[in-house]
Structure formats: structure tokens, C-alpha cells
């Protein structure tokens, strides 16, 4: 991936600076739906991006391969594809490989080759490595070691589609109107220099987990230092990358709940912690002192998803916008309320979550607005929704 990173970061910036629009939509009953309202919502926030990046993560789109990892890989050349496929072959049982269907779209230029592979890992016998760790390692190795290849989606029954362009152009390019999913997250990007590359667009993906991110982590250096010490390799110089690894570490590897994840990346202030009941204070103090390097400082709002949940959280002093809303069994997150209203004029609840307090939608459960409009450190009881 060194080539691509140089393409994306010709000035060798510490981190690529960008700001964005984000949108997320989930039917907690698990019913798949078309992405059409998502495209409209993103188009409505056109001016939050500048055409240098757009993308979508859609869950539930490959029901025919529910247990296979769907690897979406972009290549700068056929040679890179050959090299990658040679790399994959001994390590995976490749059930199907195909070029991702695209259409020539106005405004989409310099598009890479995009392929997808439905694979099962071939884990050596007696290996103590878990399937997931094996997958992560392979993805990172492809990205780090094979020039001109980049795995941009690697989960099961989900896919990330992204590139350089406005989000609505990306949707048309990838023919997303042909997909149906129960969770859609979307991103429109506004990097501050004109150099942009396809892999740097959002969502970022690590296995099932994806993240779309509006903001800039002022703590990037500290976060990166922390993650690299643990063994993550930050190659792309984007703050979203460290966010992705933080998600991977806390949610996937440590298997801590999303509430805890929010309290790691967006922790309460010490003075609030000091006022907490003892158990809470002990926990939060431990989280901050152990995971201080994962405190995401600086403006952000993010929408994180995997197949069963969609989580939105902002930085702890809420420097970037986020609106949450529900209508029936549908949960919306957006940078702007207007985009939600455009999709669904009538809403059951619309609210602005507090800085650092996560809003979590899970299959079968909608979030309760009150739990994210005030600080509440007891475990939340979501509203159950029939699936």
C-alpha cells in the first residue's frame, strides 16, 4: 500500500485533514431496505463535502454468503491483482471472485480496479490464532505489503463502497440502488488538499466494523503512538484509521460493549468522574488511565456499525454536529437534521446527543433519547422493538 499512500499523501502530512458529512440509517427490526433515502440525504449535504471522497457501508447485502468474508479490494493495476490473488490463494478458500459491478459515471475519474472475493480463511492446524485475528492480519499485510492493492472491506454479509467523488456519484458508480440492507452508513468528504485517493475515503472497515467520521483528531499523534505500541501499523495518515483501530481493539478484540468504547474515546471530564458513584468512578478512572492513548481529542462525530448495531458518538465537548432521530423501527444519524427530515418528515423523536455520550441502536432495540441527552452512567435500557 505504500504506493497508494504516497499518492494520497504527497506532502507527507502527519495526517490528512478533512471534514465531512455523515449519515446512518438502520432498521432495528432487521428488515432490508433500499439505499435510496440515504443517497438523497447525502445529496442534501452536498456542500459538506468537496467531491474528494464519498462512500457507503451496507449491512445484509450478501445473504447468499452469510458466513463468508466478503473482501472488497481495489487495485491500481492488473499486476497488483495477480499478486494479491496469488497471496490469497494459499490462505483462503475463495468461494467466488468477481469484479464489482460499476457504471461509468460523470465526475468519477481515475477509478481503480475493484474486485470482491467471498472467502473462508485457511487457518493452519494447531494455530492458536483466532479466525478474526487471522483475517485482520491478512488484511493488514495485503494493505501494507502489496504495492497497488488495498482491501477496503472485509466483513461478512456486508460491504463498503467508496471512492473519490461526491457520495451520490459514488452510489451511482457502484450501482448501489441494486443493493438492499438493514444498515446503511454514508460519508461525504472534504479533505483540505486536492490530492485524494480512493482508499482514503470513508467508511473505514475492519472485518464487520465500519466507521464514518466527521472531524479531525487533534490527538492523532498520541493515538497513533498508543496503537502502534500495541502493534497496529498506521500507514494512511488519517485520523479515521486510528479510530478504526481503536474500534477494532476495544469492540472486537477486547469485546468491550459500545458504551465502554464511547467512554474510552470520549471520556467524561475528571471532575465528572470524581463525582461518580464509587464503582463507576473506579471503572472510568481505570479506563482513562489505561486507555488514555485512545482518548480521541478534537472535533469529531462518528457513526460506527457492525451487522447488529449502529452507534453514533461525538467528541466529549461536542465540537462537531450530530443529530439522532427515530421513526417507527428506523434509527437515523446525521450531520444535519434537515437530511433526516428530507427522508422522513414525520419523526417519533429527534434529539441532539450530548458530547461523548453514545447513541446505540441494536437489532431489536431503539435508543431512548433521554439516555443520551444527559449524562447517565448506569447501563441503558433500550426500547425493545419487534424484529
Amino acid at each position: 500500500m505504500r504506493d497508494l499512500s504516497m499518492v494520497c499523501n504527497p506532502y507527507n502530512e502527519d495526517k490528512v485533514i478533512s471534514a465531512c458529512s455523515i449519515f446512518g440509517m438502520m432498521d432495528v427490526s432487521g428488515k432490508p431496505f433500499s439505499g435510496e433515502p440515504v443517497f438523497r440525504a447525502m445529496e442534501n449535504m452536498h456542500d459538506r463535502g468537496n467531491g474528494l471522497g464519498g462512500g457507503f457501508a451496507v449491512y445484509g447485502i450478501y445473504p447468499e454468503f452469510p458466513d463468508h468474508y466478503a473482501l472488497h479490494i481495489m487495485y491500481t493495476s492488473q499486476a497488483a491483482r495477480h499478486e494479491t490473488e496469488q497471496y490469497l490463494e494459499p490462505r483462503f478458500l475463495v468461494e467466488r471472485s468477481e469484479e464489482i459491478p460499476t457504471r461509468k459515471t460523470d465526475g468519477i475519474n481515475n477509478e481503480p480496479l475493484v474486485y470482491r472475493y467471498f472467502v473462508l480463511p485457511k487457518i493452519p492446524k494447531q494455530s492458536e490464532v483466532t479466525e478474526e485475528d487471522f483475517m485482520v492480519e491478512q488484511v493488514l499485510r495485503v494493505n501494507a505489503e502489496i504495492d497497488g492493492a488495498f482491501v477496503f472491506s472485509s466483513g461478512k454479509n456486508m460491504g463498503v463502497f467508496k471512492g473519490v467523488g461526491f457520495p451520490e456519484q459514488i452510489a451511482r458508480y457502484f450501482r448501489l440502488e441494486e443493493y438492499q440492507g438493514h444498515i446503511w452508513t454514508a460519508h461525504g468528504r472534504f479533505p483540505t488538499n486536492s490530492q485524494a485517493w480512493w482508499g482514503g475515503a470513508h467508511p473505514f472497515c475492519m472485518l464487520d466494523w465500519t466507521v464514518v467520521h466527521n472531524g479531525e483528531l487533534s490527538s492523532y499523534g498520541a493515538n497513533r503512538a498508543y496503537l502502534e505500541t500495541i502493534g497496529y501499523k498506521c500507514t494512511m495518515f488519517t485520523d479515521t484509521e486510528v479510530l478504526t483501530y481503536a474500534i477494532d481493539l476495544i469492540l472486537r478484540r477486547e469485546k468491550l460493549p459500545p458504551e465502554i468504547f464511547a467512554r474510552v474515546i470520549s471520556p467524561p471530564l475528571w471532575e465528572e468522574i470524581d463525582r461518580m458513584p464509587e464503582d463507576e468512578r473506579k471503572l472510568q478512572t481505570a479506563l482513562r488511565s489505561v486507555y488514555g492513548g485512545l482518548l480521541m481529542n478534537g472535533p469529531f462525530s462518528i457513526v460506527v456499525a457492525n451487522g447488529s448495531q449502529m452507534i453514533a458518538v461525538t467528541d466529549r465537548i461536542r465540537l462537531r454536529p450530530l443529530t439522532a432521530a427515530t421513526k417507527d423501527s428506523t434509527l437515523y444519524f446525521s450531520s444535519e437534521e434537515a437530511s433526516i427530515r428530507l427522508v422522513s418528515l414525520e419523526l417519533d423523536h429527534v434529539w441532539t446527543p450530548m458530547g461523548g455520550v453514545p447513541v446505540i441502536g441494536k437489532l431489536g432495540a431503539l435508543p431512548v433519547p433521554e439516555q443520551s441527552t444527559k449524562r447517565n452512567y448506569t447501563t441503558s435500557t433500550p426500547v425493545e422493538v419487534a424484529r
Partner: protein, 522 residues
């Protein structure tokens, strides 16, 4: 190591008595010139009373205050105390002949040694013009894309936890399910470094202890034991276990929030310490558990640590002795292979590693060592932090750096280079009054700091000194907050190891590589 003790007394010398038998014959020029504006002098004699080096005196016959500049150490006490500002102390305009190779300092030191045959002693920190790398690093700030934060309006957090950290936190039923190793909460990443009672006066150590208490941070006893009066500051005390083992006993270890094993000191790596007998007052002797008036000699090595596994045994012996209640720190001097040593120390079980750079202070050190041995803290810190990161063990240990921290910006840079917190020593003493005259070893400190002479020691009012220390650290804290806010972060942990917040100016590419920072403009 005192100069006077190294005089050559040749027994075969015939019984003659010459001038040089009575006093040291000196070819040295006075270092300082004393200028007294007689139009301003009101003959109040404050200068006479304030100078412990007998510079000023009243000439009864002429009814004038006069001076002996050859005694002056340049501490400026008289100039500061003079109510009419009639005195100025300047470098002696009479200089040794200029020479590109033989500086006046070389000539003076050679003369001193030719007179005495001894080691040239000095105090305070290295005053050589070796590059100060802090000054060659510049700090970043936010502009459009991420907002800066105004610390006057928004919370800005400097709280830091000292102690080993586990790799992860286990949570069960919304509660903390893993045991945390002992942690010490400090309100800002600034600790007072080891300065022993003995090296400094009672009042100064009291002021430092009280300042630590008021600030919510820690001070370090150094290798001087813990005076009975100071047990009450136990929540803010780091006790040191060093090669002399002065004052070490179970109560001492358990009267602290942290125990520090001192392997080395930045100002004098590789050598021990020597507190002259005249500074061992009754109170010091009780505190150190040594006879009054005897020299307190700390050996160069710890004689029970000849290897890293010995260190591990001592670390765990101390943890046992304190019932695993407090973190154990290991302090080393910044030396060439500090990175590897630090890695060994972490693996030996230390909760905290303290690295002391070669500009760190001392009460007494051979000048040759102070000025020539060791590393600038900036390099040592960067190298240690990088090595611990490369080995994946950086997150489990607290890294404290000291030795030449002069201002808030130095602290910001140190934390961006990877430190968790810094030790300040000389800066604290300057806040109390030290003017860096470097005569700490003489016991005649005119500022009442490095002395046990009760007449001089009274000059530090511990209340004033405490307030000055508190003010200094609070002032620095405000500045750190301003700089953090400028970088768009509101918590000190978001700065730690964030070397991308620094850029180098005027550094070679090797230096940039070691510091792990980019040149300014890139």
C-alpha cells in the same frame, strides 16, 4: 573530595614555614567584580550581614563599607537585598588572556587544581553551552480545520496517573473486573525531583513538601531519609532508596506514595554522592541515621545491584516491603544506552522509569563529570520512549523525565516526546531563590537553600517558598493548558508521545531521526 583535603603534606619536607603553608597561594583572578555606588550606599550593612562569604565589611577608619571581590561567588544576594540598589556584581572585567583553546575557565580550573591537587567540585547543573534541544523544537497549534480550545472557558485536564498500567481493562456487569496496579493521581504532570534534606535545608524541603501537597503532586526525598516532621506529607512523598541507603527503614518505605530506586543522577552519572560532615547537623543525622558530623558517602553503585536481575530482586523486595501498595520507580541517569537500560528496567518489574538528563542539578559533583558525562534529556527521552514502543511495553510503564526542565514549553515538548510527567528540581530551587552560583557544596548558600547553617537556613521562609513553588507550578500549568488548547486538545494524555506536534529547527537529520520529529516546514 573537598579541595582542602587533598593538599600534599610531604613528611620529608624540611621544617620550613612559608606563606603557602598558611594560605593557599592563588594565581587565580577573581571571578566577579563588586561595584558599589558610594553615592547610593547608606552604610546600612545589610550586605555585610547577608554575605556568608565575607565579601563586604565596614572599614571603621574610613567609615565606609568596602568589599573583597575575590571572595564573591556571584550569588547576588547582596545586590538583591541592598535597599538602595547600590551594589552590582558583574563578571570581573579583568579576564584571563583570550585564547581560542584555553578558556579562562580551563586556566582557572588548572590553577585551582595546581594549588590543591584535588577534584574541582561544583554544584547545581551543567552550565556548559551544549545545545539545549528543547529550544530547537517548536510546538504546533490548530487553525481552521480543528478548533483550538480556550482554557479559560473550557475544561482543560492535566491530571495524570503514575504507575504501571495493564494492557487492558476488564469490565463485567458494568463494573471494573480487573485489578489495577497501584496508581498515584497527580493534578499536573509535574513532580518535584529528588533533593535530599541535607543537601537542602529543612525549610526548603518543607516548602517543597507543602507545595506538593497543595498542588496535588509529589515531591521526592532524595537520598536523605525522611525527617520525622515530614511523615505528615506521606500522601505526597516519594522516598528514595539509593546506594547509601540513608534513612531507609520500613516506616520510611511505608510513609510514601512511591518508592524510587536511584541508580543514577543526570548531573553525575556513574558516581556516588558525598554530603560533607559539616552539613550533617543533628537533625540531618537523625533523618539519615548516621552519626552527626560524619561525611555521608553514597557509593557509586548500589552494592546489592550488580546486574539487572539484582535490580529485579530489589524492586520486588521493595514491593513486598510496601505490600504492593505503592509503585516502584527506578531512576537512571541519561547515558548512551539509556534505551536498552530502560527496557531492562521495565522488564525487571519497575512501575515507573525516571530518566535524568545531564543538565540536571546536584548539590555537589566533580565538575569534570557534571559537564562531560551523560546525555541531553531530549535524546534520552526520545530514545527510551521509542525503544519501549518498539518493544510494545511503553504503555505499561510511566516514564518521568527530568534534568533541565526550565519552563512550561519544555514540559509540553517532553510529553510530546513521550514522557508521562516531568521532574523539576533546579527550577523549583530557583523559584525559592537560587541564583545558580553553584556553591551548593560549600554549605554556605546565601539564599538559605543548600545549607544547614541555621543562620542561613532561616532565609527561606517555607511559607513564602511554598507559595512561590505553588505559583510557579500553577503558572506553568496555565501555560501548558494554553498550549494544549492551542493544539486543540483538552487533556494531557492526548499529547503524550504525539511527536507530530513538534518540529525541529536547526537540527541535523540524525538528530531529527533520534527525536522522531520532522524539520520545521514539513
Amino acid at each position: 573530595m573537598k579541595i582542602e583535603e587533598h593538599q600534599n603534606n610531604n613528611p620529608s619536607k624540611p621544617a620550613q614555614r612559608k606563606a603557602s603553608d598558611f594560605k593557599i597561594r592563588s594565581n587565580r583572578l577573581s571571578e566577579f567584580a563588586v561595584q558599589r555606588d558610594y553615592d547610593r550606599c547608606i552604610k546600612c550593612e545589610v550586605c555585610i550581614k547577608q554575605c556568608s562569604f565575607d565579601v563586604h565589611y565596614r572599614d571603621e577608619e574610613d567609615d565606609l563599607i568596602k568589599h573583597r571581590p575575590e571572595n564573591c561567588v556571584g550569588c547576588h544576594r547582596c545586590a538583591v537585598m541592598c535597599p538602595t540598589a547600590a551594589i552590582s556584581i558583574t563578571p570581573n572585567p579583568a579576564q584571563y588572556r583570550a585564547h581560542g583553546s584555553w578558556s579562562g575557565e580551563h586556566v582557572k580550573d588548572i590553577n585551582r587544581q595546581a594549588e590543591t591537587g584535588g577534584v574541582v567540585l561544583t554544584g547545581s547543573g551543567n552550565d556548559k553551552a551544549a545545545p539545549v534541544y528543547w529550544d530547537r523544537m517548536l510546538i504546533n497549534a490548530s487553525q481552521v480545520t480543528n478548533p483550538s480550545i480556550d482554557p479559560l472557558r473550557e475544561p482543560m485536564e492535566l491530571r495524570t496517573y503514575i504507575g504501571a498500567k495493564p494492557a487492558s481493562v476488564k469490565v463485567k456487569d458494568g463494573k471494573l473486573a480487573s485489578e489495577m496496579p497501584p496508581q498515584i493521581k497527580i493534578q499536573m504532570p509535574i513532580l518535584f525531583s529528588a533533593i535530599s534534606y541535607g543537601a537542602i535545608s529543612y525549610n526548603v524541603q518543607k516548602a517543597i513538601a507543602e507545595a506538593a501537597e497543595e498542588l496535588g503532586t509529589l515531591y521526592n526525598t532524595g537520598e536523605g531519609g525522611l525527617h520525622p516532621d515530614f511523615y505528615k506529607y506521606k500522601d505526597n512523598t516519594i522516598v528514595q532508596v539509593a546506594s547509601g541507603r540513608f534513612g531507609v527503614h520500613p516506616d520510611y518505605l511505608n510513609a510514601a506514595r512511591m518508592v524510587e530506586i536511584k541508580i543514577g543522577q543526570g548531573a553525575k552519572p556513574g558516581i556516588g554522592g558525598h554530603l560533607a560532615g559539616e552539613k550533617v547537623s543533628e537533625s540531618v543525622s537523625i533523618t539519615r541515621m548516621i552519626p552527626m558530623g560524619t561525611d555521608a558517602i553514597s557509593p557509586a553503585p548500589q552494592h546489592d545491584i550488580y546486574s539487572i536481575e539484582d535490580l529485579r530482586m530489589l524492586i520486588f523486595a521493595l514491593k513486598e516491603a510496601t505490600n504492593y501498595r505503592v509503585p516502584v520507580s527506578v531512576k537512571i541517569a541519561a547515558v548512551h544506552n539509556a534505551a536498552a537500560i530502560a527496557s531492562g528496567i521495565v522488564r525487571a518489574g519497575a512501575d515507573v522509569v525516571a530518566i535524568d538528563g545531564f543538565r540536571g542539578g546536584t548539590g555537589a559533583a566533580p565538575k569534570a563529570i557534571r559537564d562531560n558525562v551523560g546525555l541531553p534529556i531530549e535524546f534520552a527521552l526520545a530514545a527510551v520512549d521509542q525503544r519501549l514502543r518498539d518493544e510494545g511495553i511503553r504503555n505499561q510503564v510511566t516514564l518521568i523525565s527530568g534534568g533541565g526542565i526550565r519552563c512550561a514549553a519544555d514540559i509540553v515538548k517532553a510529553i510530546a516526546l513521550g514522557a508521562d510527567a516531568v521532574y523539576i528540581g533546579t527550577a523549583a530551587l530557583i523559584a525559592v531563590g537560587c541564583t545558580l552560583c553553584q556553591k551548593c557544596y560549600s554549605g554556605k548558600c546565601n539564599w538559605g537553600i543548600a545549607t544547614q547553617n541555621p543562620y542561613l537556613a532561616k532565609r527561606v521562609n517555607s511559607e513564602i517558598a511554598k507559595n512561590r513553588l505553588v505559583n510557579l507550578v500553577q503558572g506553568w500549568s496555565h501555560e501548558i493548558k494554553e498550549m494544549l488548547g492551542g493544539m486543540g486538545i483538552n487533556s494531557i494524555e492526548s499529547l503524550k508521545g504525539s511527536r507530530s506536534q513538534l518540529r525541529g529547527v536547526g537540527l541535523t537529520s540524525e538528530e531529527l531521526d533520534i527525536l522522531g520529529i520532522r524539520p520545521a516546514g514539513m
